[in-house]
Amino acid sequence: MFSPELAVNALVAGVLLGGFYAAVTIGISISFGILDIVNIAHPAFIILGSYIAYILNAQFGIDPIIAAIIALPAFYALGAAIYQVYHVAFEMRGREALSGLAFFFGLLFITEVLLILVFGVDYRYVQASYVDQSINIGFINLPKRMLIPCLISILMFVALQLFLSRTFIGRAITAVAQDQLALRLMAASPTRIKRIAFAISIATASLAGAFLIIIQPVEPSVGREYIGRVFAICVLGGLGSLPGTIIAAMLLGIAESFTSTFYGPSWAPAVSFGILLLTLAFRPAGLLGR
């Protein structure tokens, strides 16, 4: 049964959800959109981020977002290490197509199972003052646990966009997608640039993980629902376009929110994957694609 208040709240919830989805996807926008690396293990790293935020929060009472920022360097290093293996084993041998995909697929499972073995399959939560609070504007309900991640996510996007367009390394990253030869002539090593970019993409997983566990309870297999979402958003938004990612994330968030509200939550996974299939079939360049 359809009511305007319900619809508006579904819309608002969708926008907030979209902001969060954008944070989850930004890593893939960099690794797949710009570097052409199909890292389907990314959601597993996000869950890893969630668990690290959980530990720091449960043991030391640190706010999950602060915890994620503390963990950033470790995630960066992890990303650099993974890229190094990927580069030597696959890029240099020209075997990215099959072996590279299988590599990340394996990493996805290893990460998930290690988390199961260490933490078990119980849902984990974080404790923070804003997790249970909401702001109410008229009949519009703004849960703080969704609002805060959404706002910080937008900040993260702005920061990354500035980084990519204003700094030398940032511009080199954008360039490496288009012309590696020109990059070499500028005395920048494409491998090093790509490593930095990939490391940044994994670092974003730390923050995204914190957002996730603020928004909902987490257990190791939650990551799988997000594989379709991140690629759907990435493809819909157009590979390599950061603004496109935000728009696509909002669209997906709103679509899922409406589906959940009016048809029931069990249909929600089909929304993202369905959008992905349709986009791939009819407009693979996405909305704002290169």
Binding site: F32, D36, V38, I40, V85, A89, R93, R95, A97, L98, S99, L101, A102, F103, F105, G106, L107, L108, F109, I110, E112, V113, L114, I116, L117, R224, I227, G228, F231, A232, V235, S266, W267, P269, A270, F273, G274, L276, L277, L280, A281, P284
Partner: protein, 319 residues
């Protein structure tokens, strides 16, 4: 060796395997053996698309589950003998493979791989919401206790899966040695050059997707009878996706032998680990082996053996 001869040899080997299983006379052997045989079919089917043409399918579970659920549907609607169910499953899964291929094969391999993942989830969501086949509550399929001639029904299921394994391996080998196999290899090596050389790449890829999907569906058709109680989470279980990729890669993707070896080695290992340790460690081991092999031995066990043999041949030559 002509395909007909290979088929006959395979049938003889299968008969010997069945006779040995009967001699051991332990039901566990049949249950575990069924699982390993199922993986032989899935791994071989995956490899026709993934190994031969280079297009990775992450959604093997979808085709497998399609086969399983078409059996459930027909069981409720009008029960029929399993061989008929297998054929129907082949047609349904083959058509879905064709359709999905038509939508996504014009894109690069990476997009195809992601699309297969999307398909698996969409299908799972559809099934979960479809009450006629049980939805998320699951469906009971009562396994008959006996069947004519053989007696024990589990023996019958084992025999059926043996037959499917023989069919899958023969199909794979026939393709490998035909001009179709050449065409597949050109797609894997360099699709652009293949097109320029006159290879109808889209058509060949569609053939590969259809055959691969059909074989996976066939493997799924007897599953409800084997397991008795079918839930979407078990039919769409991610262990099918991981294993159908890991087994060919670890065994070796270049020939029909690789998936067979990978399925037997990994399948048996997993049966042992699940029973003695846990099923999570199972998936961990498969994941680790997959990553290790893909980084260090990308040509799989078959590739390793081949390079050892080649090195020996060089060492034997006079300096």
């Amino acid at each position: 060796m002509r395909s007909a001869i290979f088929f006959l040899i395979a049938v003889v080997v299968a008969a010997i395997v069945f006779a040995c299983a009967l001699a051991i006379n332990n039901d566990y052997v049949f249950f575990a053996g069924y699982t390993v045989l199922q993986f032989i079919v899935l791994a071989t089917a995956w490899n026709i698309l993934g190994g031969y043409t280079g297009y990775v399918n992450f959604g093997s579970a979808a085709f497998f589950a399609l086969g399983a659920y078409s059996s459930v549907f027909l069981h409720k609607f009008y029960p029929m003998p399993i061989p008929v169910l297998i054929i129907i499953a082949a047609v349904i899964s083959g058509l879905v493979g064709l359709g999905m291929g038509y939508l996504t094969l014009r894109l690069r391999g990476a997009f195809f791989a992601i699309a297969t993942l999307a398909l698996a989830v969409v299908l799972q969501t559809l099934i979960v919401n479809w009450n006629y086949v049980g939805g998320s509550r699951g469906a009971y399929v009562v396994r008959p206790a006996t069947i004519a001639f053989l007696g024990n029904y589990v023996h019958y299921l084992f025999l059926l899966m043996l037959g499917l394994a023989v069919i899958a391996l023969t199909v794979a080998r026939t393709i490998e040695h035909s001009s179709l196999g050449y065409g597949f290899a050109t797609i894997r090596d360099d699709e652009l050059a293949a097109e320029a050389s006159g290879v109808p790449t889209l058509r060949l890829k569609l053939i590969a997707t259809t055959i691969s999907g059909a074989l996976m569906g066939m493997a799924g058709a007897p599953f409800p009878y084997y397991i008795g109680y079918l839930q979407p989470s078990s039919a769409f279980g991610l262990e099918y996706a991981v294993n159908s990729i890991a087994m060919p890669i670890i065994g070796g993707t270049a020939t029909w032998l690789g998936p067979l070896i990978g399925a037997i080695v990994l399948g048996s290992l997993q049966q042992y680990v699940t029973v003695t340790i846990s099923s999570s460690v199972n998936v961990l081991i498969v994941g680790l082996l997959l990553v290790v092999f893909v980084v260090i031995a990308p040509n799989g066990i078959v590739g390793l053996v081949q390079s050892i043999l080649r090195r020996r041949r060089y060492e034997r030559k006079p300096a």
